[in-house]
C-alpha cells in the first residue's frame, strides 16, 4: 500500500453519500471504480482525508429505458455498459466508444460516473455525452439537479460538480431511425488515452445530415464541439468542414505530438467519421 492514511466510509444511499461529503467540507472523495482515484492516491498526487465508497448503493448501476431516454446509473461499470443490449440499440455511439476505453481489467472496475466526474480531457465518454446531448443528474446537499452535458464539462478535470455533489445518472436521448453516429480515435496503442478522438452524432433527412454534432477529445481542456465543421457538414461541404477545423480547434502539444500533427489528425478523423455518419444504419 502506498497512499497516505485516509478514513473510509461506506455509503448506503445517495443521500447518505452526499451527507458524508458534506461533513468533510468538500475534502472527502467518492470512491467509484477506483481506477483513476486510487492511482492518484498511490502516487500521492491527492491525499483526501476520507473516501466515501458508493459501490454498495443499491440500484446505482442500473441501465434502463425511460420515456425516450436511456438511463445509465453512475455506478454502471464500463464492462456492463459495453455489453448492454439496451445501449447497443438505443445509444450505439457509447457502444462504439467503449472498447477504446482502457483494457478489459480496467473496464471491469471503472464506472461511467467515475469517468464523467473525473473529466479527463482525453477520455471518450465526456465527448460522447456532449455529442448525444445527454443530461447529467446530480445530487447535492440542496437536492437534485440536471445539467446538460455541454454545460457540465468546464475544463481539465473540472466539471459542474461541486465539492459535495455526486453524479447520480446520465440520461441519453434514445436514438431514432434517423440517428447516425460515428466514432474514431487515434491512440498510441489500442486502449491508451487518445492522441485525438472524435465522437459524432447526426440526423439524416434524405441524403442530408442535420443536427450534426462533432465533438473532439484530447485536443483541449474539455470536449470541443467543432461548430464550424458541423455547419459545413450539414451543408454537405466536407472540404469546408476540414478547413474549418483550424478555427474550431486549438490543440496543444504534448510529449509525443505537436499541435500541428493533432490538427492534421483531427482532419483525418473528420473524414473517416463523416463517412460513418453517411453509412446506412446497420
Amino acid at each position: 500500500m502506498k497512499p497516505a492514511a485516509f478514513a473510509y466510509a461506506k455509503a448506503h444511499s445517495i443521500e447518505h453519500a452526499v451527507e458524508l461529503l458534506g461533513k468533510h467540507d468538500g475534502e472527502a472523495r467518492l470512491l467509484a471504480g477506483g481506477q483513476s482515484l486510487i492511482a492518484s492516491l498511490n502516487m500521492r498526487l491527492a491525499s483526501p482525508p476520507m473516501l466515501v465508497d458508493i459501490n454498495d448503493i443499491a440500484g446505482l448501476d442500473r441501465i434502463d429505458m425511460t420515456d425516450g431516454h436511456v438511463l445509465i446509473g453512475a455506478m454502471a461499470r464500463h464492462a456492463d455498459v459495453e455489453r448492454s443490449s439496451i445501449i447497443a440499440k438505443h445509444a450505439p455511439l457509447i457502444s462504439r466508444a467503449m472498447p477504446h476505453i482502457a483494457h478489459a481489467a480496467i473496464r471491469n472496475r471503472g464506472t461511467i460516473g467515475g469517468s464523467l466526474a473525473y473529466a479527463d480531457p482525453a477520455a471518450e465518454l465526456p465527448a460522447c455525452m456532449v455529442a448525444l446531448g445527454a443530461k447529467l443528474e446530480i445530487a447535492g446537499l440542496q437536492g437534485r439537479r440536471v445539467v446538460a452535458a455541454e454545460d457540465f464539462f468546464k475544463g481539465m478535470f473540472e466539471t459542474a460538480l461541486g465539492p459535495n455533489d455526486m453524479l447520480v445518472a446520465v440520461h441519453v436521448p434514445a436514438a431514432t431511425a434517423q440517428t447516425r453516429v460515428g466514432f474514431e480515435e487515434l491512440a498510441r496503442r489500442h486502449g491508451d488515452y487518445a492522441i485525438v478522438g472524435l465522437a459524432a452524432a447526426a440526423q439524416v433527412a434524405g441524403a442530408k445530415l442535420s443536427d450534426v454534432r462533432l465533438v473532439y477529445f484530447s485536443v483541449g481542456d474539455a470536449p470541443v464541439r467543432a461548430r464550424g465543421a458541423e455547419s459545413a457538414i450539414a451543408a454537405g461541404d466536407i472540404d469546408g468542414a476540414a478547413a474549418a477545423l483550424s478555427k474550431d480547434l486549438l490543440p496543444t502539444a504534448d510529449l509525443e505530438s505537436s499541435a500541428e500533427v493533432k490538427l492534421h489528425l483531427a482532419g483525418v478523423l473528420l473524414r473517416r467519421v463523416v463517412r460513418q455518419l453517411q453509412e446506412a444504419r446497420a
Binding site: A4, N42, R44, L186, G191, D192, H264, L265
Partner: protein, 778 residues
Amino acid sequence: MDAVVGKFGIGQPVRRVEDQRFITGKGRFVDDVTLPQQAYGVLVMSPHGHATIKSINTKAALAAEGVLCILTAKDLADEKIGMLIPAMPEDFGAPKGYRASRPLLAADRARCVGDRIAFVVAETEELARSAAELVEVDYAPLPAVVTVEQAVAKDAQKIYDDNPGNIAFIMAMGNKEKTDEVFAKAKHVVKLKINNNRVSANSIETRAANADYAAESDSFTLYTTSQNPHGTRSQIAGQVFKIPETRLRVISPDVGGGFGMKGSVYPEDALVMVASRRISRPVKWTSTRAEALLGDAHGRDQVVTGELAFDDSGKILGIRAHSMHAVGSHVTAAAFAISMFSVKLLSGVYDIPAGFIFAQAVLTNTSPMAPYRGAGRPEATYLVERLIERAAVILKMDPIALRMKNFVPKSKMPYTNTSGIVYDSGDFAHVTQECLKLADYDGFKKRRAESKKNGKLRGWGLAYFVEEAAIFNDRMDLRFDPSGQVTILAGTHSHGQGHATVYAQMVSEWLGVPFENIRFIQGDTNEVPMGRGTYGSRSMMVGGNALKNAADQIVEKAKPMAARMLEAAAGDLEFKDGKFKVVGTDKAIELTNVAKAFYAPMFLPKDVGVGLESAGTFAAEPPCYPNGCHTCEIEIDTQTGVIALVRYTAVDDVGKVMNHLLAEGQVHGGIAQGMGQALMEHIVYDNSGQLLSGSFMDYAMPRAEDIPDLGGEFAEVPSTTNPLGVKGCGEAGATGAPPAIMAALLDALKPYGIEEFDMPATPQRVWAALNKASVKAA
C-alpha cells in the same frame, strides 16, 4: 509447437515446470518475503537532474509517526560504509578513465533525477512514505548535461569537478592506420550518424530488497531481486561493509525478469542492510513502478557515426566508427560491457579487411546505464546493418545481394573480425536463404501492391546479426541423496528463462534420473557453493557445459562402486541410458541404485567418501557466436503515420537447441523488446534533467496485439567452442529486430525520399516526416 508429454530428453519442447507455480500466484518473490518484526524503508530521491545539496534536515521526518530511523550520507560516513565501485576497462589494461563510483546516498551533489538522498525506515511502508515527504533537502540546482553530445561539448558543465570533459572511459579496437588508408583510396564511402534510443527494462517485478541483520553472529541475510546473488555478496561484503563473505548470505528467490537491469548492485541493496543493523529489525524496500522508471539503470543511449568504404563492385573494404555511450551519473558494475561488446562486433557478419572504432563512455545527468538485453551487441548490429542498407541505396544495389556479396563465407570459419574477435562457426548465406524462403520474400511485391490498394505503404526489411555470447567461468553442482535422486545446485540464476526445466531435462537424459525427481536449487549463497548468475546469454553455454562436466564426473565416480556391485572390472563397464552395463552381458545396474550405495551407514569401501556429488566447471574461453537473419514487413497508414508490424520471420543459429519451447520463448521475447525499441520505447529527459517519460502513460511498450505471429525456425549450426555445441539465445531477438524493422520502415518511406530515421519510429514522427517530404515535393 506443442509440448510433448512424457518425453523429457534434450531438445524436447518440455513445458516449463515453473509455470504452474507462477501462473497460480505461488511464486515467491522478494516482496513476498515478510519477516517477523518487519520494518519498511522508502527512498528520498533527488527531484533535480543536477544540484548541490546544501543541507538535509530530517528533524520533522524523524518525529513523524512510526519512524524508526533515517539514513543520510553523514550516517553512512559515520559507519564507514563504502561505495559501489565499478569494474573499469583500465582493470583489463585499457587507458585510465574516471571511476565514478556510486555512494549509497549522495552527500553534497545530486547527479541525476532519482539520485538517492535519504532512506526513511518506519513501521509500515505508508508511514515511511509519509515521513519521506517531510525530509527537507535544500538544493541549489546546477545546469544539467543530459545527452552525450551536451556532455562532451566544449566547456560543458562538469558532472564531477575533477573530471572536465565528462568522459568515464574510452576504448578502441582495430587498425586505425590501415583503415584510414583504405578509406582514402575507396571508390565509395557511406556515412551515417545514428542515435540508439535510451530505453528502460521494465521487468514485470520491480526491484526489492529485504535485509535481516543477526546481532548474535554479526551477520546479514539479504533477499534481493538480483540476477547474480554471489556477485552481489562479493560486492556488498567487499566494497560496502568490508566484511568476510561468510557474514553475508544473499538470497535471490523467484525473480521476475532482469534483462541486465538487475545484474548490478543498487544502493538500496546495502541501505536495507545498514538500516537493519541499526534498528535490529529486518528492513524491506520495494520499488514502485514510478521509482523504477526513475531509479533503475537504463539501456542503450548511444550516438554513433559510422562509415563503410566500398570498391566499385560493392565489396566492403573498410569500416570505421566513433561512438559515444551514455553511462549516466555513475558508472555501474558492468557498464563497461556495453561499450566493450559494441566495439568487439563492429564489422558484424561481413568479411571486411580493415576496421577501427573509437568509443567514449560519457557521464550524463541521467540514471546510470547497465547492460540491457544485448548490451552493446544490438548497438553494433544496428550500426553496421543501417550502414549496409544505406550503402545499398547509394550504390543502387539490392540490399540482400549486397549482403550476400560481403558475408563472411562459411569456408572462412573460424574467422577473425576487424576487432580481432574469432567467430568459430556460422553459415550466414545459408541462414539468409532459409529465412527468405520462410518469409516468402518472393511474394512481397504482391503484398506491397495489395497494401497500396488499401492506401498503405508497405516495406520490407532484413537484418543479420552476430553476437558474442557467454562470459566468465561458472560452476554447477550435482548432489545425490540417499534415495538415489539428484539435486542440481546452479551457479547461474534463472529469472524467467526456465532453467529448472531445461537443466533437469539434460540431467535426466545424461544420468537416467527421472525428470520429476530432479530438484533444482539456485539463488542462495548458503546453498549454492559458487556462481556468477545469468546475463549475456551465458547460462546454456557456461552453466550447461559445467552441468555436463558435473554429470560426467558423477559417472566416473560411480563406476568403481557399480563395478563392485556388479562384481565386474570397472574397465568392462559402459554407461548408457542411466545404467552401468557389463559389456557383452545382460548384467546392469541403474546409477540411481549405485548412488544409494554411497550413503550406506557402514562398510563403505575405504577409498570412497560418504555421498555422491560433483562440482562441474566450464569457462567461456572462448565464448560463442550466435547469429541470425531477421526479416519483417511493416505497413504505414500515410494519413496518420500509424505503423503496423505485419509479418516477422527469423531464422536464428543458436547452435544446438536444448529445449525448443524455451529457446523460441527467448527469441520471441527478444523480438518484442526489439520491436518496442524500434517503434515506441523511449526514455526522455528535458534539458534540466527532468524525466518526462516517468510512467507507463508516457513510456509505451508493445502489447500482444502489436506483435504479429512470429515465424521462423532455428538453424542449428553447432558451436565448436563447447562440448554441447550450444550458443546463447537470450539476446538474439532484441539484437535482430531493431535494424530489421528500421530497414522495413526506410524501405516503405523510400518513395518519399526519406533516407534517415532514428528510433523510436512513432506514428507522430513518421507522419511528420511524410508531411515534410510531401511539402518539399509539392
